[in-house]
Amino acid sequence: MLTFGVVMSFRDALLAIHRLRDARLISEYAIGGAIAVAFWSEPVPTFDLDVFAIFPTSVARLVSLEPLYAWASQQGYPTESEHIIMGGIPVQLIPVHNALAEEAVAEAVKLEIENVAVRVMRPEHLIALYLEPSARTHKRLERVAALLEEGGIDRPLLDAILKRYGLTLP
């Protein structure tokens, strides 16, 4: 029998992301990457937390993440290269780069993690993002396979997303 306590550092990271939204530096977010895959399937070792973010429409064109790093510095969160260290966890804030990523954030589901309501990308969107030509690595295709096998996929929804964005399963 596995028993676990609350991971306070992870909770701190989640709350820090919410603060970023409260400060209106991002308008919405969703957790993606390996941690999101773990929530739908089986945990795998990973070292950073990928957070996809939609930025406020008042920003005409996003040219820099500097305002995020400035906020982090003011709030006492260290930065290392492209990561902000929140609760001791390297968090990478990734601006949505196309319509698929924006849809994935907009249609994320809420999960309760460490007693915090957190937005997590749906497995169907995770698969679609991993199948984008620029993201299609062996490691990510393994995650696609894991999600297809174990992620409780809504197959009609997945098929519709793949068709809409011109993506195909391997």
Binding site: F4, D22, P43, P45, G76, I89
Partner: protein, 79 residues
């Protein structure tokens, strides 16, 4: 190599039992709560980090997450 020198083949029943056990472990991991999965990720980090370090220098972000609170003193939670 003669048949006598070969390691004995596992019986089909033994293989089936081993596969069932493995499937049960994966299912147990899949059915953990999100919080439990985060805890497991941290445990896995502790397992794989020494293995990665044997192959190449670790990247700056490749380290085990702290399990405990390391929140800045200025932080006031907002849900």
């Amino acid at each position: 190599m003669s048949n006598k020198d070969r390691a004995p083949n596992p019986s089909p029943d033994l293989l089936a039992a081993l596969r069932r056990g493995k499937a049960a472990l994966h299912e147990a991991h899949r059915s953990l709560s999100p919080s439990e999965k985060v805890r497991l990720v941290i445990e896995l980090q502790g397992v794989v980090l020494p293995l990665i370090a044997r192959r190449r220098p670790l990247r700056y972000y490749e380290r085990q997450w702290p399990a405990e609170n390391s929140i800045p003193s200025s932080f006031k939670p907002s849900m």
